[in-house]
């Protein structure tokens, strides 16, 4: 599972509706007691809508996230790497599935969510709108992108909505090998030929900034962080997570002998953290709003798979209906 600013709301697009005060108060009291909310429980409409949006964005991110890495499965340079990559990309599909299931407990169908993705109405993590140009990108994605995603996701295992939290626990367990296999790829490249090492450095140069953007806008610019925090959906702020990510990644890059493309990175003893440079938020919003290098290709790949799969799904449904019918008539006969 991958998600950046879980629940990205683009200015001017739908925003949660207000609920009547009583439901809200009782509900907030439950959250304050750290109670889990389960599907049949009363919940404010705004909470339900926010969850549907966030969980489905998250699910879409997993499924769209299969594509950039999936493109390298056939070219993986060793059979071992081919197996690992296949298993990893497959896991992401599983994560999408667990999350769609969690969203469905809120009274929506997977079909309607997928439809929204295909119509360009639903968002997914914009990191997947960047192209995978080299094999090193497969390593970088695992190491940095999955690494950042894991940092985002771990706090969600404690989120207030039961089905989402349970899906996240399962997902986080499976994620644990994703980052390691990515690091392992990059490490092999760094210990390999000069060409391999150069490939790794070039890849880090391209992915570093987009990875930092995965944590979403600065806390001061995040419109819905307050609500999500009150509702027990968001536990740690975007900036805090981003800082944590920088702090763990800088020494890892140093170990590999790679340079992070930010000359402002420097240990700040006073803060006890690494300082780092300014993120290009124009680029972030451009990609979120659909103008990244691969937005169109990603959605059209998903649409193609869905459209080409339609007759398959119809055949399965028709066969199931016929079998049910003939079973029923057997029963009548008996």
């Amino acid at each position: 599972m991958y998600t950046q600013a879980f629940d990205i709301v683009v200015a001017g697009e739908t925003s949660p509706v207000a609920d009547d005060g009583d439901v809200q108060t009782a509900f907030l009291a439950r959250i304050a007691r750290d109670e889990k909310i389960e599907p049949q429980d009363a919940m404010p409409e705004a909470y339900r809508k926010t969850l549907i949006r966030q969980i489905s964005q998250h699910a879409h991110s997993e499924v769209v996230g299969m594509l950039p890495e999936g493109g390298w499965i056939t070219r993986a340079p060793s059979l071992k790497r081919k197996e690992i990559l296949l298993a990893k990309v497959q896991d992401e599909g599983g994560h999408g599935l667990y999350l769609y299931s969690a969203a469905e407990t809120l009274g929506v169908t997977r079909e309607s969510l997928v439809e929204a993705l295909h119509a360009g109405k639903a968002k997914y993590s914009s990191i997947f709108n960047y192209p995978t140009e080299t094999w090193a990108d497969i390593g970088t994605i695992g190491w940095l992108v999955d690494g950042a995603a894991i940092m985002n996701q771990v706090p969600l295992c404690r989120c207030s909505y039961g089905p989402y939290a349970r899906a996240m626990i399962r997902i986080c367990k499976e994620e644990s090998f994703h980052q390691r296999q990515g690091f392992d790829i990059v490490r092999s490249l760094c210990e390999g030929t000069p060409a391999q090492k150069a490939m790794a450095q070039e890849s880090i140069n391209r992915w570093w900034w987009p990875t930092l953007m995965m944590f979403g806008p600065h806390d001061s610019d995040s419109t819905h962080t307050g609500e999500a925090t009150d509702w027990g959906i968001k536990r740690i702020s975007n900036d805090a997570l981003r800082q944590k990510f920088v702090d763990v990644t800088v020494p890892q890059a140093a170990f590999l002998g790679l340079t992070l493309p930010d000359s402002a990175i420097m240990w700040n003893a006073e803060r006890g953290h690494y300082d780092f440079g300014k993120i290009d938020w124009d680029e972030f919003w451009r990609v979120v709003k659909g103008d990244g290098p691969c937005n169109a290709a990603r959605v059209s790949d998903r649409v193609a798979a869905f459209d080409e799969g339609r007759w398959v799904r119809e055949a399965a449904a028709a066969h199931a209906a016929k079998s049910a019918l003939s079973k029923a008539s057997l029963k009548v006969a008996a």
């Binding site: 499965i73 059979l79 081919k82 197996e83 599909g93 066969h319 016929k322």
Partner: protein, 246 residues
């Protein structure tokens, strides 16, 4: 010690099995992320992983016997296309899901008896591989046969598609049945293959096409051209960095 790890089976047999699994696994892996539904995407990837795992195990046996620092990857990535010994059918492009499932059924129905008898054979290294592989092939056969049944019984469109998939694959079945695998009984294997296919065809009310005498030159040419494209892609990166490790 070392002796018990070496198989006595001829290399041609090992490579037929290994290359068939490898190329077939490669084809199935192309579906990853593009399956007709998410659940199916995940299921199919499991099969691809099974096949690549089988190919690796077999290639490791070949490499071990060749010695001289030959590795599974050297065999997979640096052999020339003509040196591959796969059954022709696996090299063909995936086509639609009907073709993919029909091919999986035809091949898995062939592999189940092959693994089964190798698993009971006296060649220890191969018997170990076969004992695991036969379970995987049985799951795969069930999965693919279920789909062939759904397509035959489903909608008009799915029936049309599965029929046309079978028509295009059928001529390659001749090679399947004519290929000998040392350590297994060809007649028994073919009987088992027929029985299992026939059962699915009956359930799906599909009729079994007649077997042609032998693969034509055109079929062979198509399959080799497909294999060339497949390997060009598979081997591209590894060959750009000869001697590199990954």
């Amino acid at each position: 010690m070392a002796e018990s790890r070496l198989t006595a089976l001829p290399e041609s047999t090992l490579l037929t099995l290994a290359d068939t699994c490898l190329l077939w696994g490669h084809r199935l892996s192309e579906w990853c992320g593009h399956g007709p539904v998410l659940e199916e995407d995940i299921a199919l990837t499991n099969t691809a992983l099974d096949l690549i795992g089988q190919a690796r195990a077999l290639l490791q046996l070949v490499a071990l016997r060749r010695g001289d620092e030959v590795t599974e990857d050297a065999l997979a990535y640096f052999r020339e296309p003509e040196a591959f010994c796969n059954l022709m059918m696996v090299a063909l492009p995936n086509g639609d899901y009907a073709l993919t499932m029909a091919r999986s059924m035809l091949l898995a129905a062939w592999f189940v008896p092959v693994w089964d008898s190798l698993a009971q054979g006296t060649d220890r290294p191969l018997a170990n591989i076969a004992a695991d592989a036969v379970k995987e092939s049985r799951v795969q056969l069930r999965h693919a046969s279920d789909w062939v049944l759904r397509f035959g019984d489903g909608t008009d469109e799915s029936r049309r598609r599965i029929e046309s998939a079978l028509v295009s694959l059928w001529p390659y079945c001749d090679e399947l049945l004519a290929t000998t695998v040392d350590g297994t009984d060809q007649a028994e294997r073919n009987a088992s293959w027929r029985a299992s296919i026939q059962a699915t065809f009956d359930a799906a009310t599909l009729s079994m096409p007649a077997l042609p005498d032998a693969a034509t030159n055109l079929l062979t040419a198509t399959a080799s051209a497909s294999r060339l494209t497949l390997l060009a892609e598979m081997q591209s990166l590894a060959r750009q960095h000869p001697g590199a490790s990954w």
